[in-house]
Symmetry: none
Subunit: 219 residues, 2 copies
DNA sequence: ATGTTCTATGAAAACTTGTTCACTGTCAAG
DNA sequence: CTTGACAGTGAACAAGTTTTCATAGAACAT
């Protein structure tokens, strides 16, 4: 594989970033503007070079139409490590709220108040655009370990009407707890996902704060 | 959301499929040929309708340039429960960047509806206050399942110099991949956490985008 | 009946974009 | 010194592409 020049690499990266951000390719004149070329032909030459070197495929006659050919990497000599950020394809995101910690077990009053740290949390795919009420909670306790939600994890709660089987953040005895919602006819139960815990917690007065849609874990 | 006609839906699907297959959008004439219209204006009208109904965004004057507006899907079951938000202890959070899910440098259009959807991502506790370079990546593939990072998960990447054993986002062949970093003297390897994959991937040119600090999973 | 909306045709205008041509300068190898 | 590869300017052309204009039938409500 022939090596790319610095400018060719920059142009290729720009094109990738552009397509990642906008979902469509830049035109030759877009690239020209970005790199302050005085002529479209400068870009044209670079694109030809990129194609000749096999990393870019142009679609003849079509506008803003390219394909990326994955680069093959060599495998000898010593390793040179470069560090770089996500690039221009990064997109700014809306922010969400973090409501402190939640008890996934019996109410834990020993905790020295909610930490209420700042934290960023993800929205579920179905409501990425508009979920102004979404919030995050740190999990305390082990009542949901069978659902792979453990102490220290962060769950993302989103508003909505929970279905049977959803894991919900419910308000019980003034405490927010994380349990699976079980509907049996008109009756509603909360179920802990831990064999050591009582199976069902019957409720007649129940306040649902939202549905746990995602869980965030430290690696 | 106004409802789409059958033809509008078909055209929208075709456009999505085209972009998923070719990585660039179809021209109006491509669509015309596909649907055997006698006039480009038939397509033009449908595209106008799609934009008016809010599911497609056209870039005026630009060729093969569109954006998909993710459709919001309503979910209405019935339950007789009270719902309320997180309460006053909620705190507004800073926002982070989301770099999209990247396959060969491209976003993954095959996803249910998402084309570069917005998403919120959490920061690690160690860098909540100031991590302007942090970003998130959707995981594609199963090379890290032994580290409990699966296809569809979202990892939060933070900048920094990785230590031996860290899981890093590395740029290989123009793709961002998630692997465990192994240092052996001056040599550096990337290790997939999957028994079915080759153990070590030798590299000589390696670009590290950051260290995976957290993983986010859908429930 | 009448108007409106949706869908479509056919042609042309207007703009975007890729491509070509002629020419210049730089730099290293032969 | 010459040659050739590489990178760039400036202008123009040809094709691709979107967009507008004029027109018309079908479905449908008023």
């Amino acid at each position: 594989m022939e090596e790319l020049t610095k400018k060719q690499r920059a142009i290729l990266d720009y094109m990738k970033a552009h397509v990642a951000e906008h979902t469509y390719w830049p035109s030759i004149r877009d690239i020209q503007a970005k790199f302050r070329f005085a002529s479209t032909n400068a870009v044209f030459g670079h694109l030809q070079a990129l194609e000749r070197k096999g990393v870019l495929q142009r679609i003849p006659g079509a506008a803003r139409a390219y394909k990326i050919v994955p680069e093959v990497l060599g495998d000898t000599s010593e390793t040179v490590i470069r560090y770089e950020g996500p690039g221009d394809d990064a997109i700014q995101f809306e922010s969400v709220k973090f409501a402190g910690s939640i008890a996934a077990g019996f109410p834990d009053y020993t905790e020295s108040s909610g930490v209420l740290d700042s934290m960023q949390v993800p929205l579920s795919p179905s409501s990425r655009r508009r979920a102004p009420e979404s919030f995050a909670l740190r999990v305390r306790g082990d009542s949901m370990i069978d659902a792979d939600i453990n102490d220290g994890d962060t769950v993302i709660i989103e508003p909505g009407v929970p279905k049977h089987g959803d894991i919900v953040a419910a308000l019980i005895d003034g405490e927010t707890t994380l349990k699976r919602l079980i509907k049996q006819g008109a009756k509603v139960y909360l179920k802990a996902e831990n064999q050591n815990y009582p199976d069902l917690i019957p409720t007649n007065s129940l306040t649902i704060q939202g549905i746990a849609k995602s869980v965030m874990k430290r690696i």
